[in-house]
């Protein structure tokens, strides 16, 4: 399954070999984490806390891909009932802990998410979704049109009802990555793409990079879209582009928003509810997040056929029309920046987290689609626990990569 055949074996011997440490049993003394998005950064952080010497190998630079172009929602509100909702609850709780403990104190903003319905269909969907949130133990309060107008005065009368999901938050992906990487003490190798693995007796002993072969006791693949190449999962991991917008500062309007807005259509675009029919290939799920700076982050698209980090006026206009429809005051604010990122999604909608089948020291954590910021720290912590022989505090069986890889590895 690994691309051993792409490079003649002799070339590996010609390369300078960097022997980091002697390979030993669990807990390891060294680890290589491939990918410094939020998942890789969090894994490095939690491994570092356990005394593991971590080398973070990054094809370009930290947070250069999806983590640096995310909407930053740390939220249960939009999650599909079941494992993802449970995971998100744990993910949000961990952010609260990290903020309380100081590491993310200034970077994590606690706020409610208001899911807003603007049509009868959305109202029905939203009511069902609220029940699922309540079942999962989330504080989700239904607000009638009148109650909503009172609680959220800058909202348009087009809002028919809302659900306020309490105790959610927002974190900017690249800021979290920066903080975690620095706190991890990991050595960061920028511009160091991993070309292939060096395997030895059911282990991944090392990796081949343009700078040479590097070895470590444990390996974690958290390379987002790059994981597809490394693991031959091209048909399992798919790119899903998103376009996002950031406005200038508008503190008065920002302050007048008691939380983030998510349109009821977001649930549709994300397929958070089963049986909602076919998704459009270029769905729009509106979120409006009032940022700490007084700016607004407005998103976003979910495009199945886009893999370029570009913005088009058609998508930007549709996002903004939807935003102004719910918050008319935004029409007088200026757009400062548009950007796009490519999320890595798994075809069954659940991330891949866990040990690589048949490889005792290698782990994968990728395919979070739009949930990486929310679930990244939790995932990093759980992977670190697995690597160090601790019982993971979160059950990962639904995310086991074996569901796509078992057959291949046995071969």
């Amino acid at each position: 399954m690994y691309r051993r055949d792409t490079l003649p074996a002799t070339n590996i011997h010609l390369m300078k070999s960097i022997r980091l440490h002697e390979i030993s049993g669990s807990p390891p003394s060294t680890a290589i984490v491939i990918g410094s998005g939020i998942v890789g950064a969090a894994t490095a952080y939690y491994l570092g806390k356990r005394g593991v010497a971590v080398h973070l190998l990054e094809a370009t630079a930290p947070a250069a891909e999806a983590s640096g172009a995310a909407d930053g929602a740390v939220s249960v509100a939009s999650k599909r009932p079941g494992t993802m909702m449970t995971a998100a609850l744990r993910g949000v709780a961990l952010y609260r802990d990290l903020a309380r403990d100081g590491l993310l104190a200034d970077l994590y903003k606690t706020r409610s998410t208001f899911i807003i319905a603007a049509s009868q269909a959305e109202c029905e969907l939203l009511e069902k979704h609220r029940e699922a949130l309540l079942d999962a133990g989330v504080k989700a309060v239904a607000l009638s049109r009148q109650a909503l107008q009172k609680r959220f005065q800058v909202l348009s009368p087009n809002a028919l009802m809302g659900v306020e999901v309490h105790d959610e938050g927002h974190a900017i992906g690249y800021e979290i990555v920066h903080r975690l990487v620095k706190a991890s003490g990991a050595f960061v190798h920028r511009d160091t793409p991993v070309r292939e693995f060096v395997e030895a007796g059911g282990r991944v002993a090392g990796v081949v990079t343009p700078k040479g072969v590097m070895t470590a006791d444990a390996m974690v693949i958290a390379a987002g879209g790059g994981s597809a190449n490394l693991l031959n999962l091209d048909n399992v991991l798919i790119p899903r582009k998103g376009q996002l917008l950031v406005t200038e500062r508008a503190p008065a309007l920002n302050r007048a928003m008691p939380g983030a807005i998510m349109s009821g259509r977001y649930l549709l675009s994300k397929g958070s509810q089963k049986g909602t029919g076919a998704l459009p290939s270029r769905g729009l799920g509106l979120v409006i997040d009032p940022l700490r700076t007084g700016q607004f982050l407005i998103g976003g698209t979910r495009e199945d056929f886009g893999d370029r980090q570009t913005n088009d006026i058609d998508a930007v206009r549709r996002i903004l029309l939807a935003a102004v429809d719910l918050v008319p005051g935004l029409a007088d604010v200026r757009l400062l920046r548009s950007f796009a990122g490519v999320r890595t999604a798994v075809i069954d909608g659940l991330p891949l987290i866990g040990r690589l089948p048949g490889r005792e020291n290698a782990y994968v954590a990728t395919g979070f689609e739009g949930d990486g910021i929310c679930l990244g720290p939790l995932t990093g912590k759980t992977i670190a626990q697995m690597i160090c022989g601790e019982t993971p505090e979160f059950d990962l069986s639904d995310f086991d990569p074996a569901r796509f890889m078992a057959g291949k590895v046995a071969a």
Binding site: E248, P251, G294, D332
Partner: protein, 82 residues
Amino acid sequence: MNSFRFLSKNIPFNEGESIAAALEAAGIRQFGRDAVGHEIRYFCGIGACQCCLVRIDGVIREACVTPARAGAHIELVGADHE
């Protein structure tokens, strides 16, 4: 002579003049504070630095490249931003 309103004052201007030039002639060099806390004022003259923003009939514009218009009502962007 034509004039526009800047807050509660009438500001005269010559046809074709920018808002910044008219305000300068009226001795107004500070247009409130921006959201970061700096005083808003004329700087580059070519619309690049975004340091002279005002709200003209509700729309945020660079005072330096926007022609003055008779009857326009000009407010501070800070009126919303603070």
